[in-house]
């Protein structure tokens, strides 16, 4: 390690209601990447903002933040402004909202140049074009007058990076820079960051929850838990020999793509805090469904050449094109694709929330494509859905009993005691106690809410459950908990899943068969073993290659 560029010495951050960071000490050397890892609320983002002194005024910061040996906390506001954007730059998580929507990107890039360097407007514009070129934005002369909404998420994050490196900073703080982006875009952004770090010999403080990312890009790793640093080590050592119990739990519960873990063979270790109320089942794998039986049955759900059209203004385009697949009883079909590939449209089409343009959807052999709502309503009990966002998918004004009871009432269960019995039973399935009945969604944690969402999907005893990114909004340890629950329930209740996710590791763990979607089309589908080991389609291969943190997957020759 070269000399310390940034040194945190006993950093403490207090918010009015919370001691967010306790006695944190860290160093970042010149040209080095330090990853600061932890789950949401562990204080990692507060640390990032404290370094540039951008925390809300109600935060109290103690300790020392040394940049080249000088304590930033002693700097005057004017001197601090000369540091921001010049010596220390930042990149944030949300490229969608991190740029001002009403100013052109040229203006926003020029702003930082004009602030820190003696440049004419013309020269600043020229530099801005060069910077856009550096971050590989195509046609920079033309794009410089574009507004953020004209750019894709990845391009916006590139603009953010261009802005951050405009004045050749010594330290770049990247706070979850790729969390909001698709996998393939993620990889290219991190490559760019790494290249720039080397070329400009910047120190890089990479803040993330994603361990896969860390193993690939960081020199050293510091792990934070509840405001404290619990462990710090060279990346390779940390992954090989984690010392602290929390690090081990974190590593164990996060899914690695190259772990080749599958629900048939192993359960995920549940490390969440409310693990106890889950009355942990025996952590063994579930035996594979009897494949002979599976094959003999008629498919539960079958799609034939389905197209789904979307209208935006005058234009009509197809969000789903020519899609055919089937799900057999007891089977989990994983559906992988990046944002905008049509996977959510597909789930709404199967639920008949939006009409199919053409093609046929067969449920247990019955064509439901053109069925009217009243004829379809009894069949709705057979297909239910678990949503991504555990906050948005539960009506905040209904208690758990209202939510689950309402479902039963819609399906003609008029008797109150019968409803109550089935609600309590279903809550038992998702390991929630009957005490939850009269509580509102906001009184539960994220993982518990997702279990309420699962209970709502199960209470009608469906045959097929569509899980649309059910763990994407959850922390790593909660992810494991919910995935285990889904695996158990499949066994207990004989369910089939259509499991939609952008996260290949999750799909790899839970699926029997996998379907890869791109631009509304199915590019490849196959058995869970074959698709990862011998991907046929170039897009599948690029998806697999883009997964961070793998020991360079050996892509089999096609």
């Amino acid at each position: 390690m070269t000399k310390a560029l940034l040194e945190l010495d006993g950093l403490n951050i207090h918010f009015p209601t919370q001691h967010a960071v306790r006695d944190l000490s860290l160093t970042v050397g010149q040209g080095e990447t330090l990853a600061l890892v932890g789950e949401s609320g562990c204080g990692k983002s507060a640390t990032a903002l404290a370094i540039t002194r951008l925390l809300a005024p109600n935060a109290r910061v103690g300790g020392r933040i040394l940049l080249d040996g000088e304590n930033l906390l002693d700097f005057s506001p004017a001197r601090m402004r000369a540091v921001r954007g010049r010596a220390i730059s930042m990149i944030f998580q949300e490229p969608m909202s991190s740029l001002n929507p009403v100013l052109s990107i040229g203006t926003q890039l020029g702003e930082v140049l004009l602030q820190h360097e003696q440049l004419s407007r013309q020269a600043a514009r020229q530099r801005a074009i060069e910077l856009l070129d550096t971050v590989r934005i195509p046609e920079p002369q033309r794009r410089i007058d574009d507004y953020p909404h004209n750019l894709s998420g990845g391009q916006r994050q590139r603009v953010m990076i261009a802005m951050a490196i405009a004045c050749h900073p010594r330290l770049l703080i990247a706070d979850e820079p790729t969390t909001a982006l698709d996998v393939t875009v993620q990889a290219s952004i991190l490559e760019l960051l790494d290249k720039l770090r080397r070329e400009l010999s910047m120190g890089l403080l990479l803040i993330t929850h994603d361990l896969g990312l860390v193993s690939q890009w960081a020199d050293r790793v510091a792990v934070m838990f509840a405001g404290e640093k619990v462990e710090e080590a060279v990346a390779a050592k940390l992954f090989a020999h984690p010392e602290h119990a929390y690090t081990r739990r974190l590593l164990a519960s996060s899914l690695h793509f190259d772990q080749e873990l599958h629900y048939h063979e192993a359960r995920l270790p549940d490390t969440s805090e409310d693990a106890e109320d889950l009355q942990a089942h025996v952590p063994t794998g579930v035996p594979a469904a009897n494949e002979a039986v599976v094959a003999s049955q008629a498919p539960l759900l079958k799609l034939e050449d389905v197209h789904v059209a979307y209208r935006t203004g005058e234009k009509e385009f197809f969000a789903v094109k020519d899609l055919s697949f089937e799900i057999r009883r007891g089977e989990t079909l994983g559906l992988v694709g990046e944002s905008g590939c049509g996977k959510s449209t597909l789930s709404k089409t199967i639920l008949k929330l939006i009409p199919a343009h053409s093609g046929r959807i067969l449920l247990e052999g019955q064509d439901i494509t053109r069925l009217g709502e009243s004829a379809f309503r009894p069949l709705r009990a057979k297909i239910q859905m678990v949503f991504q966002d555990p906050y948005g998918s539960l009506n905040p004004r209904h208690t758990v009993e209202d939510i689950l009871g309402g479902v039963l009432r819609a399906h003609g269960v008029a008797d109150k005691t019968e409803r109550h019995r089935r609600i309590v039973e279903t809550l038992g399935h998702v390991r929630l106690s009957a005490k939850s009945l009269n509580r509102y969604p906001h009184e539960f944690s994220g993982g518990q809410r997702q279990r309420i969402g699962i209970a709502r999907a199960l209470i009608l005893r469906p045959a097929l459950v569509i899980c649309d990114e059910p763990v994407s909004a959850l922390d790593v340890s909660i992810q494991a908990q919910v995935l285990n629950l889904l695996v158990d329930l499949k066994q207990e209740l004989g369910l089939s899943y259509l499991f939609i996710s952008h996260d290949l590791s999750v799909v790899r763990y839970i699926s029997d068969r996998v379907l890869v979607m791109q631009d509304g089309r199915c590019v490849e589908q196959g058995d869970y073993r074959s698709i990862w080991n011998a991907p046929q389609h170039p897009y599948t291969r690029s998806l697999i290659e883009a997964v961070p943190g793998q020991s360079r997957v050996q892509v089999a020759a096609a």
């Binding site: 903002l49 540039t52 951008l54 506001p77 402004r81 000369a82 540091v83 921001r84 954007g85 010049r86 730059s89 930042m90 944030f92 949300e94 909202s97 991190s98 740029l99 001002n100 929507p101 009403v102 100013l103 052109s104 702003e111 930082v112 602030q115 820190h116 033309r142 007058d145 507004y147 909404h149 953010m160 802005m163 203004g313």
Partner: protein, 333 residues
């Protein structure tokens, strides 16, 4: 001309076209509403058009009925009404012995001056006060200004007008108490303008303060909301001066809701102007409307309603164009 400028011109041009298209059904709708209201007026349109104040003989009424086809079914009457409007014939006022259109056009400039000045005072004052409150949020400056703007927001503008008359005109004698020019003074050039402005100060401020407080409150809340957005944090992280961040990033974005609301309040301001004109004997449209009500001169009243609705539509079009200029996200397609 740079490509950037060309782009914004195209955007604005498109907005103008789209807003005009959108306004068309409203124009038709207003015509129908006003026609229906006319039908509800006691007596038929001939009475109305001839002026209820009397003076029309049975012969003229019959002639009018024949001319406007009032013996025809209602649909034909509507067509006849529209035909008249198409020829800019809003009817004739016996009371003023003038055509309604001439009457309205004669009063319109005074109302427009009053409203334009009040709007300028309200928007600029509102932005400044609102920005000040947002910048000092939670401190005593903010609390005091918030309270003052809340009080003005709760005060009828005509009462502000009357109270300011007592203080600034009766007690202090700084401003004249009514009218728009000193009667009989026969002033010209610069002296005329100064005289007009002296008469305008109190009405403009009385009308403007209510709206100023609306815009100030809106600016404050919009700026506080925008200040929490990620891109403001980005601006700070660039090392920009806080004042620059506020003006360039926060206030710039707060302009969008403020212009929208200012446009929406144009109609309300027209109504407010009607009352203020009465308080200050300002010879505008509003006072004409009131005189028409008292004289039961419905042709004038309906003419004003129609005309001011068109003014609102025109304002909406202008606001749409302004928005398209301010907000690059408004789509071309």
């Amino acid at each position: 001309m740079s490509e950037k400028t060309l782009k914004s011109i195209r955007r604005v041009g498109y907005a103008l076209w789209r807003a005009a298209l959108r306004a068309l059904p409203s124009v038709v709708g207003i015509l129908i509403v006003v026609f229906l209201l006319l039908q509800m007026v006691p007596g038929d349109a001939a009475d109305v058009l001839a002026g209820e104040s009397g003076g029309a003989t049975a012969d003229t009424l019959a002639a009018l009925r024949a001319r406007f086809g009032l013996d025809h079914p209602i649909l034909l009457q509507l067509l006849a009404y529209l035909n008249n409007l198409a020829h800019f014939n809003l009817g004739y006022s016996i009371r003023y012995n003038a055509s309604v259109l001439d009457l309205i056009l004669g009063r319109l400039p005074h109302t427009l001056v009053l409203m334009a000045a009040a709007q300028v005072v309200a928007v600029f004052g509102g932005l400044v006060v609102g920005a000040l409150m947002a910048a000092r949020a939670g401190k005593w400056t903010d609390r005091l200004l918030s309270l003052v703007s809340l009080v003005f927001y709760s005060t009828p503008s005509f009462w502000i007008g009357l109270m300011s008359l007592i203080v600034f005109s009766v007690w202090l004698g700084w401003f004249p108490s009514g009218g728009n020019i000193t009667i009989g003074a026969d002033l010209h050039g610069w002296a005329y303008i100064v005289d007009y402005l002296r008469h305008a100060v109190l009405p403009v401020l009385s009308l403007g303060f209510f709206f100023l407080s609306i815009y100030a409150r809106l600016t404050r809340s919009a700026m506080l909301e925008i200040a929490r957005q990620d891109f403001v944090r980005t601006a700070h992280a660039k090392g920009l001066h806080p004042l620059r961040v506020i003006v360039r990033h926060v206030l710039r974005c707060a302009l969008l809701p403020v212009t929208t609301v200012a446009g929406m309040h144009f109609g309300a301001m027209l109504g407010g102007a009607a009352v203020i004109e009465t308080v200050f004997s300002w010879p505008g449209l509003g006072r004409l409307a009131l005189e028409a009500v008292l004289a039961r001169d419905f042709s004038v009243l309906m003419g004003i309603l129609l005309f001011s609705s068109f003014l609102v539509i025109l304002t909406n079009v202008l606001v749409d164009v302004l928005q398209a200029w301010l907000d690059p996200r408004i789509k071309l397609a």
